[in-house]
């Protein structure tokens, strides 16, 4: 039997804060047409933590993610990413964002899609050979050896999303913001991608904020699951997931796993009832 990784727990409780939401509020539109998407959200995510956001649709999970990414700005409260404003964190290329759609560039090969961030960022102190090595390493990590010169349309949806994952990792951001990345995949592919993502998370030192509406996915992957209420989104409950690492298929079959899935489901039920 594997035991919970204590160092990881220490990292989750004591270490530096990677993302901090404080009294965050976000309104879309203005005047009479304004809708309040999220209200008074307080949430701290520690470095190297894997946190999932789950909640009824329209609860503002993606809004939180996009606030952290500086794709939108909060209407109130503050968001800090690596102790900086999200804008500064974006300019410093602190995070990688992964969308539900793979968002690959059709005209580029797999290789060139992964190389895109490096082309744009002109990372200093990284030689051409080093970059090529890195791309190669990541493509093999996501299981795409031999597909370097394929175009995205020649790949399945799961493979495309793996390219997008490799592209997000290639510039080594300290944070990954993932917006329902496997939402469009079939169950079997999704299962495999989950385990792969978890392995990659363990191999790298990234902090992951993960939006999903799959309860089993949230429980399997996370150190903590944040359950949100219906619109306007607030934090309903934060459920620590005390499952052992590494998260494998065996973990998925354990009793504790099912207990936690049930706990999240019940919390989610309350959250939705509150919203209605």
């Amino acid at each position: 039997m594997t035991t919970p990784d204590t160092s990881r727990e220490a990292a989750a409780s004591g270490a530096q804060t990677a993302i901090a939401f404080q009294g965050v509020r976000k309104e879309f539109g203005n005047g009479a047409n304004a809708t309040l998407a999220i209200e008074s959200v307080d949430l701290d995510i520690a470095e190297r933590e894997f946190v999932s956001l789950i909640g009824p649709s329209g609860c503002g999970k993606s809004t939180l993610l996009r606030l952290a990414a500086d794709l939108i700005e909060p209407s109130g409260g503050s968001v800090l990413v690596n102790s900086k404003t999200p804008r500064q964190a974006r300019l410093d290329r602190d995070y990688g964002f992964i969308f539900q759609a793979p968002t690959l560039f059709d005209w580029r090969t797999v290789w060139k899609n992964v190389a895109l961030p490096l082309e744009i960022m002109k990372i200093s102190g990284m030689s051409r050979e080093k970059k090529e090595e890195e791309i190669e390493r990541l493509l093999s990590m996501v299981g795409l050896d031999g597909f370097e010169s394929h175009h995205p349309y020649q790949l399945s949806g799961g493979m495309q999303q793996r390219v997008s994952l490799a592209r997000a990792l290639v510039f080594r951001p300290s944070i990954l913001l993932m917006d329902e990345p496997f939402g469009a995949l079939d169950e079997i592919t999704r299962d495999r991608m989950n385990l792969e993502l978890h392995r990659i998370w363990e191999e790298t030192n990234t902090t992951i904020l993960f939006v999903t509406h799959s309860i089993p996915e949230a429980v399997l992957l996370s150190g903590r699951v944040v359950v949100m209420t219906a619109r306007p989104g607030r934090v309903q409950e934060i459920i620590p997931i005390d499952l052992p690492y590494p998260r494998t298929t065996e973990v998925e079959e354990s009793t504790r796993y099912y207990e936690l899935v049930t706990q999240v489901r019940e919390s989610l039920g309350t959250a939705m009832a509150g919203g209605l």
Partner: protein
């Protein structure tokens, strides 16, 4: 998927591939031959006078005889059409690139582009003669006025079609405006640009020839047609028309070929 793509190109599949093309090429060719034959027969049977409708065989033999001169005249007309397209396209694409991020600017110009596309631009030809003289300058100007709004509209729509997530992705990389323009908006604009270009090359040729009807040198297809028509040299007029058709079709095919090559990644070109 690639394996099937490659399989299509292997020799085993060659006959089927040819067969597919043959199906596209042979029927129109037969229609063409039949139509020419019918034309020849009708002229013969009804004894139609040659200045009204000459026989295709007569046109063909004069075309061959005058080929050197026709090609020279065609080259002059193409030069006018090409320079006009370059100028008009440059203006249209440039304006689209400058304004596509600013809705009110793009819309402000877009209205006039739409108006210009609706106006029969050729009616401006006599005015451009007043402004730019009777020779090439006025004809180039008219071609530009006709083609600029086409390329403006198509390029603008294309630049704006860039995927919203992809734009956010570029933003997340803190990519500069020029980077994003070049790496994202331009590839998205290309299919639209080529659609516009295919229309614009045809329009450029038509407008160039008609502008030449309004005066100036005879050493171009439009000037030659004007001159020979005034003298009721119908066969000569026909040879120039044939040359204009051949040039028009070939430049369209060249553009379509470049389009297919450049956009081989695009869903509309991948084929099956």
């Amino acid at each position: 998927m690639t394996t099937t793509d490659q399989a299509l190109e292997t020799s085993a599949e060659q006959p089927r591939l040819w067969g597919r093309h043959a199906g596209v090429v042979v029927p129109p060719f037969l229609v063409f031959v039949a139509a020419i034959g019918l034309w020849e027969l009708i002229v013969e049977a009804f004894d139609i006078q040659r200045f009204l409708l000459p026989r295709p065989s007569e046109i063909a033999s004069l075309f061959v005889e005058d080929f050197g001169r026709l090609i020279q005249q065609g080259r002059n007309t193409l030069g006018v059409a090409g320079r006009g397209l370059l100028l008009g396209g440059g203006i249209g694409i440039g304006l689209a690139a400058i304004t596509f991020r600013t809705r009110w600017m793009a819309e402000g110009i877009g209205i006039y582009a739409a108006v210009l596309k609706a106006v029969p631009v050729i009616s401006l030809a006599p005015l451009t003669v007043v402004w730019f003289g009777i020779e090439a300058g006025s004809k180039i100007a008219t071609v530009s006025i006709a083609t600029a709004p086409i390329l403006f509209t198509y390029t603008l729509v294309g630049l704006r079609s860039a995927d919203a997530n992809a734009q956010e992705l570029m933003r997340s990389y803190a990519a500069g405006h020029f980077r994003t323009f070049w790496n994202l908006h331009v590839p998205y604009a290309l299919p639209f640009f080529f659609s516009g270009l295919k229309i614009a090359v045809t329009i450029a040729m038509i407008v160039a020839i008609i502008s030449e009807y309004f005066g100036g040198s005879f050493e171009n297809l439009g000037g030659y047609i004007r001159n020979e028509a005034n003298n009721v040299h119908t066969v000569e007029v026909w040879t120039a028309i044939v040359m204009a058709c051949l040039l028009g079709i070939s430049q369209y095919m060249i553009v379509a070929g470049i389009d297919r090559y450049v956009l081989r990644w695009h869903p509309s070109k991948r084929g099956g």
